[in-house]
């Protein structure tokens, strides 16, 4: 028996030793180009003992990710600064960063994330990002950003990240289904969208006019319905940060959604959708109009099975409303974390990533999902027509944000924290499933916002 025990213990030691040899090497200096890889790029001959840790949010295409990695490696080779970088899935980014910040260790020096402004606000008052206003101004002076980008990336006049690119929410329309009903003019207002959706709906044959879901975690619903509300005079907040959801316009919009759901203009399964629901409904050929990022366009283009739908699809800017035409801004940017010890190298890295020649070629790979955010994009032939033009126009004109139109930082912080619970999606879900009346749902949203406000105080 003792021999057996000793054998087991020896085996354990062997396995642990193998583990130590086999995985988890922290100092990978190979700089291998792997699509999901963490790499350390280093040029020994130029090494100046400068190091940077960079976390980049992975994007939708392996080619684009590989290009990002190559760029980081080129920076390391040209400057001699050792860069340990990692491409992280968007869903993994925040939990990892939060854990590192909480623990006070392994915090990266530079990050590149989507939805940058909301993430920054969510940390208030302990914002872990450095003030990079001077760097943004310097970049803006040499190559002007769109004004919407400059304005939309500031919090109380301060930049906590350097804008890098913009994403968008476009309106995808099945032109063939509209044509079948004799509709040749595409809707330009939300009222027209609802009318067209009703006209083309054929629920008996499993076809629905409007693919806007209301699952409790449906982020696309959250974004789309906020735009519907802003543009029809139904804000969640006033400019001073007070709650404004209890209004006639808000009731009207919520009731309109519930009515469309009731009439099966919206698919019955919409109450269970996650952010992928609107993609699925369009790809399945189940809905005539959806609002989504241009990743949907790429999906249509990337599979022969969707050739028919792609041929009969047009992607346009979201419509305006009766009182406004604000669209949600989606700016991604580079942040330098407070814990960064070599700010000079971090700034150098960001400027390198924004170098005009590389920048312009990179965003042609990612088009139309990501759009450049500099004014000169309007003069570039590549961005002058079709869906590419739409995404640049979107970047140029976007002015909405979570909490819009709140101006003060306290109100924006409340709105940002509130947003992460997907309150609009939850409100619509509770109304259409009969869990709450419209009044009860509005009261609940008010109570939730007040609770966040009091917690912050």
């Amino acid at each position: 028996m003792k021999k057996r025990l000793v054998s087991i213990l020896l085996m354990l030691v062997l396995v642990v030793s193998l583990a130590a040899c086999g995985g988890g090497t922290k100092d990978n200096t190979t700089g291998e180009n792997t699509s999901q890889g963490e790499n350390t790029s280093k040029d020994d001959s130029k090494s100046q003992d400068k190091k940077l840790t960079v976390w980049l949010e992975k994007v939708f295409s392996d080619d684009a990710n590989a290009e990002l990695q190559e760029r980081v490696k080129a920076f390391a080779e040209e400057t001699g600064i050792e860069v340990k970088f990692e491409l992280l899935a968007a869903t993994d980014f925040v939990p990892k960063l939060n854990a590192a910040i909480e623990a006070g260790s392994n915090v990266p020096d530079v990050t590149l994330t989507s939805g940058a402004i909301t993430k920054v606000l969510n940390y208030y008052p302990n914002i872990p990002n450095m003030d990079v206003t001077n760097l943004v101004s310097e970049i803006h002076a040499s190559r002007p950003y769109f004004e919407s980008i400059i304005e939309g990336s500031k919090i109380d006049g301060v930049n906590y990240f350097v804008p890098f690119y913009s994403s968008s929410t476009l309106m995808f329309i099945r032109t063939d289904k509209l044509a079948e009903k004799g509709i040749t003019d595409y809707p330009t207002t939300w009222e027209e969208v609802f009318e067209v959706a009703e006209a083309v709906s054929d629920p008996k044959n499993g076809f629905y006019g409007l693919g806007v879901g209301c699952g409790p975690t449906d982020e696309d619903c959250e974004n789309t319905f906020r735009m519907i509300m802003w543009n029809n005079g139904a804000n969640i907040f006033n400019e001073d940060g007070t709650v404004a959801i209890d209004s006639e316009n808000a009731r009207k919009m919520i009731n309109k959604y519930a009515e469309m759901y009731e009439k099966e203009i919206i698919p019955p399964s919409a109450t269970t959708w996650d952010p992928g629901g609107n993609n699925s409904t369009y790809l399945m050929g189940e809905s005539a109009i959806v609002f989504n990022a241009p990743t949907l366009y790429n999906a249509l283009k990337g599979d022969e099975a969707y050739a028919d739908i792609l041929e009969n699809t047009v992607a346009l800017a979201p419509p305006a409303g009766t009182v406004n035409s604000a669209v949600m801004e989606f700016i991604s940017g580079f942040a330098i974390m407070n814990t960064c010890k070599d700010v000079e190298s971090a700034e150098l890295f960001i400027k390198y990533m924004l170098d005009q020649e590389w920048y312009d070629s990179y965003f042609k790979i990612t088009a139309p999902v990501f759009a450049p955010i500099f004014q000169d994009a309007e003069n570039d032939e590549f961005w002058s027509e079709g869906i590419n033009k739409e995404v640049v126009n979107y970047a140029k004109n976007a002015s909405g944000y979570y909490g819009y139109p709140v101006k003060n930082i306290e109100g924006r912080v409340v709105a940002a924290k509130h947003y992460f619970t997907y309150p609009v999606a939850e409100l619509l879900n509770s109304v259409v499933t009969g869990t709450r009346s419209v009044d009860e749902a509005i009261s609940k949203m008010e109570a939730d916002i007040n609770q966040i406000t009091s917690e912050l105080k």
Binding site: L12, G24, E86, E304
Partner: protein, 275 residues
Amino acid sequence: MNNKFVTILHRITVAIFLIVALFPIYWMLNTSLKTQGEVYSKVPTFLPNNPTLDNFNYLIFETPFMGALKNSLLIALVVTLLSILIAYPTAYSISRLKFKGRNSFAKLILFCYLLPSSVLYIPLYIFVSRVGLSDNIMGLMLIYPTFTLPYVAWILIPHISSIPYDIEEAALVDGCSKFKIMYQIIFPLTIPGVISTAIFAFAMCWGEYLYALVNITDTQAKTFPLIISGLIYGDLYPWGQIMAGSIIGCIPILIIYIASSRFLTGGATAGGVKG
């Protein structure tokens, strides 16, 4: 006639349960063999129209999935072994020895198991960082016993308690030491319990996501659930690839279940104290 009816009823019931239990596995396999276009088709197909191995090829040859699988396997094996090695004497002591605070200690083990990982992940991340094992699979080998150890100990306590004490007394009379009784008399009798507990401990480590996500950044050290989650870009899910990863991820667990099933027969001590 009555017995035949009962047998048929039993078989129908088992068949229904089997269908319910196996349907998700079948659907995973079905989806993993489809193109993205077919996955999103309006009418779901119960068999792929044009079966393809593209999803498996992508996962195996264009992502670090296989390396991650190796990491997961190594971590799960080491942690399971460690857990059994440490938890067995713990469970034996609580079950057989009489000492002050024994019941409280047993309850404490249960409380440790019930602590949610969302509460522990930051303190454990700090701990692992301080000992220099963050971003290393050794760090996970240090973390995972925080949930496998209490689980294994808690499950083994009733297993050991169910073994008649008379067997131990007989061994004592024959001059056997406590240590020998623990490992040479009782341990072989708890093998079915140990095996079933080890399988669950292995499965807990195998599919663990949160601790791995927070602690591992280096691709070389990632476990397979992180690679699967990394396949998702935005809101368009590559279901074929995700399901291919899940199918491959099921295989080791299935092999372990099948290989160990012959050890799971209980009742070894039945009649052991008669006569």
